[in-house]
C-alpha cells in the first residue's frame, strides 16, 4: 500500500491516537488528508 498521492481519511479516537496526529503522519508520507476526525465515546 503506497500512501504517496493517496486520499486518506484519518479516524482517530480520544483514548487512542488523535485524528490530527494521524493526519500529520499521513501528510508526511505524501498523502492528501481529506477528512480528519477524533471520536470520543466518554
Amino acid at each position: 500500500m503506497e500512501l504517496q498521492g493517496k486520499k486518506v481519511i484519518a479516524l482517530g479516537e480520544r483514548d487512542g491516537i488523535q485524528g490530527e496526529s494521524i493526519g500529520k503522519v499521513a501528510k508526511s508520507a505524501g498523502a492528501e488528508v481529506v477528512l480528519e476526525v477524533t471520536h470520543c465515546f466518554v
Partner: protein
C-alpha cells in the same frame, strides 16, 4: 483510511464498517459496503512511509502505551477477510 483506535475490538468494528458496512445494522452504513482500504496507523506499512521524526512526535508515546500488535492484527484480519 487510517485508524487510531485503542483496542482490537474498536479497530475491527471500524474496519468492518468501512469495508463491508455496519455489522450492527444500526447506523447509516448498514448494508453499505464502501470497500475502503483500512490500516491502523501503527502498522509497519504506514510507519515505514512516514517521516520518522513526525511519526515519533505524533505516535511515539501512544505506540508505547497501546497494544500495537493486537491492533495491527485486527486491521489485517479484516483486510484479509474482505480481500481489499
Amino acid at each position: 483510511m487510517l485508524l487510531g483506535t485503542p483496542t482490537a475490538d474498536s479497530t475491527e468494528l471500524y474496519a468492518i464498517t468501512m469495508t463491508e458496512g455496519d455489522p450492527s445494522w444500526a447506523g447509516a452504513l448498514a448494508g453499505v459496503a464502501l470497500g475502503l482500504l483500512v490500516y491502523h496507523v501503527t502498522e509497519d506499512e504506514v510507519k515505514e512511509q512516514a517521516d520518522p521524526a513526525v511519526y515519533d512526535d505524533e505516535i511515539g508515546i501512544a505506540e508505547m502505551v497501546l497494544e500495537v500488535d493486537v491492533l495491527r492484527e485486527a486491521a489485517k484480519k479484516v483486510r484479509d477477510r474482505v480481500s481489499v
